[in-house]
């Protein structure tokens, strides 16, 4: 068989997927770019060309900077915490103890719990009048009176972060555990013979095996944390006083609550650009690490 026929055949097999992807992703994305230069409304007028007006107005307004800061803060704290907890849990599960298999099976549960159910569950736990957190802290004598965890700007974001970390650190743990189990036993044994202590065993024997998979998990979780919408929408809708408003919530408000399709599109593209820059930067690091490990 000739090379050209093989390539043509491959394209033919990919064609259905590519057609669908162009229809549901490529075209809408192009249309978002187009909309971002207009003052289109969600319904009714298709709008007229306004150049970079939307971008200028959004970037100079104060909602943008504050929302970008909230989003970045959320992403950094959530991802860092999940990585740390995930690796700790994986190191624990890589040891021998009774009930290890059961505990590993439990890790899949928060991951499998639908995001909206997780958000609802934590919303109930944080309930200002009947919530389990208030009840537990009061009964333990830590708290003297019930608080509105999601209703106060000072605690709402932290409360969201806890809920998100609880659901997502098990995924990091599962990935890290699989990587740990790939560390060859004889290498570990050899490091014992050579008299390496626990820290240098982790640093020089285990970590090189962990680094690659963890970096990939880091990239994926960062992108997801930056796009976050569901958990925030269900728990606080971005409030109180916009203290938990992330970029996706802001775009939603602009495009759908205020029906400003044009400037909503501009905002969505700015978010996309930020995520792309992040991903490319990470990608370069991942390639470097993968290269040095090989």
């Amino acid at each position: 068989m000739s090379g050209t026929w093989i390539t043509t055949r491959a394209w033919l097999l990919m064609l259905p997927l590519l057609i669908v992807m162009v229809a549901v992703i490529g075209w809408p994305l192009a249309d978002t770019v187009h909309l971002s230069f207009t003052d289109a409304k969600l319904v009714g007028t298709s709008g007229s060309y306004v150049g970079f007006d939307n971008y200028v107005r959004l970037l100079s307004g104060n909602a943008f900077g504050r929302t970008l800061f909230t989003t970045t803060f959320f992403a950094v704290v959530v991802v860092t915490t999940e990585m740390l907890l995930g690796v700790l849990a994986a190191l624990l599960l890589n040891q021998q103890f009774h009930g290890r298999t059961l505990l590993r099976a439990l890790l899949i549960l928060p991951w499998a719990l639908p995001t909206v159910v997780n958000a609802t569950l934590w919303r109930l736990i944080y309930n200002p009048e009947y919530g389990a957190l208030n009840a537990a802290l009061t009964q333990l004598g830590i708290l003297s009176e019930y608080r509105s965890w999601l209703g106060e700007p000072g605690t709402a974001l932290t409360a969201l972060i806890v809920a998100d970390c609880w659901k997502n650190f098990p995924l990091v743990a599962l990935i890290a555990l699989a990587a740990l189990q790939a560390v060859p036993r004889d290498v570990v044994a050899a490091s014992f013979v050579d008299g390496a202590n626990a820290f240098s065993r982790f640093r020089f024997v285990t970590l090189p095996y962990l680094a690659g998979p963890l970096l990939v998990a880091l990239v994926l979780r960062t992108i997801e944390a930056f796009k976050v919408f569901d958990i925030i929408w269900v728990m606080t809708r971005g409030g109180p006083a916009n203290s938990t408003r992330t970029m996706s919530i802001l775009v939603y408000q602009e495009a759908f609550s205020f029906q400003r399709a044009g400037s909503g599109a501009s905002l969505a593209l700015i978010v996309t650009l930020i995520i792309t820059v992040l991903a490319v930067a990470y990608g370069t690091v991942v390639k470097k690490v993968a290269g040095s490990a090989a």
Binding site: A182, P213, A268
Partner: protein, 281 residues
């Protein structure tokens, strides 16, 4: 291996207990809320375990009496099942040929990279044009329209899983069959696809769970019982005027049950799927 000292063993078991408690406490509480009488949930100090277990909310939600809370819940359950299944079948049908093509013909691989890169796109970057298009075709508040939109998430993901699955099947097996006189289609049907079946199943499961979990598009593109999915119905309950928190918890338990059962039963396959992505990148 190193012999564990008694102190270290004690530490390990305590840490394991702590981890188990962290994972289980919120989940158990969700279940306890669903079976506690409303009075217990509003009691101060809060009752952590009901005096009498009350399963009546499950009956309420799973009833099909017209215009009841149950009817709305059952409709959203049916919509979620339909949308997630249709999107899964479509995504896997697109992913199998495309995944095989990329696996065997690396020169077209860049197109898959492009498809996978769309993972970076926040759904809000597609939402406005998709909304307008669905409105134009009369597909707003429609399970078919929603399933079509779900392909934006499901199709790239399943194609990527299928591609790494086919990578694990040696192409020498296919070449041997071709040399023995089998046509390419025979080879694929008799050799490759049966070998790839576990990967197809894993991809389908992942796709279904993604569809079951989806909220953003469903929130935007559905408005009533004809298409509203379970995630939207639960968010409505959580943000609405429902005064019985136990009912919200019950809906949560019911929505969480299918993916959790899948997660426990298919643990091995899911973890290998998750980590093959994580390890290979």
């Amino acid at each position: 291996m190193e012999r564990q000292s008694p102190l270290f063993r004690l530490f390990l078991h305590l840490a394991a207990l702590l981890l188990a408690a962290i994972i289980l406490a919120p989940l158990l509480w969700l279940f306890v809320m669903s079976i506690s009488p409303a009075a217990d949930l509003a009691a101060k100090p809060l009752r952590w375990w009901p005096e009498t277990m009350d399963f009546s909310r499950y009956a309420t939600l799973l009833s099909t009496v017209e215009n009841s809370a149950g009817a709305a819940f059952m409709a959203s359950l049916r919509n979620s099942l339909m949308v997630a299944s249709m999107a899964t079948v479509a995504a896997v049908s697109l992913a199998v040929p495309a995944g095989w093509a990329v696996s065997r013909t690396p020169s077209v691989g860049w197109s898959l990279s492009l498809v996978i890169a769309t993972y970076m796109l926040p759904p809000v970057a597609l939402a406005v044009p998709l909304y307008m298009a669905l409105a134009n075709f009369g597909l707003l508040n429609n399970v078919f329209g929603l399933a079509l939109v779900y392909l934006t998430i499901l199709a790239p993901f399943t194609t990527w899983l299928m591609k790494s699955g086919f990578d694990g099947i040696p192409r020498e097996i296919e070449q041997a069959a071709v040399i023995d006189g089998a046509s390419l289609w025979q080879t694929l049907r008799i050799i490759t696809l049966p070998l790839a079946l576990p990967v197809v199943a894993t991809s389908a499961l992942f796709a279904f769970l993604l569809g079951w979990d989806e909220f953003f598009y469903a929130l935007l593109f559905t408005s009533d019982q004809r298409a509203k999915t379970l995630t939207v119905a639960i968010a409505d309950l959580a943000g609405g005027r429902v005064s019985d928190y136990g009912l919200i918890a019950t809906a949560g338990v019911l929505a969480a049950l299918p993916p959790m059962l899948v997660g426990i039963v298919m643990q091995r396959a899911l973890i290998s799927g998750l980590t093959s992505g994580g390890v290979k990148g």
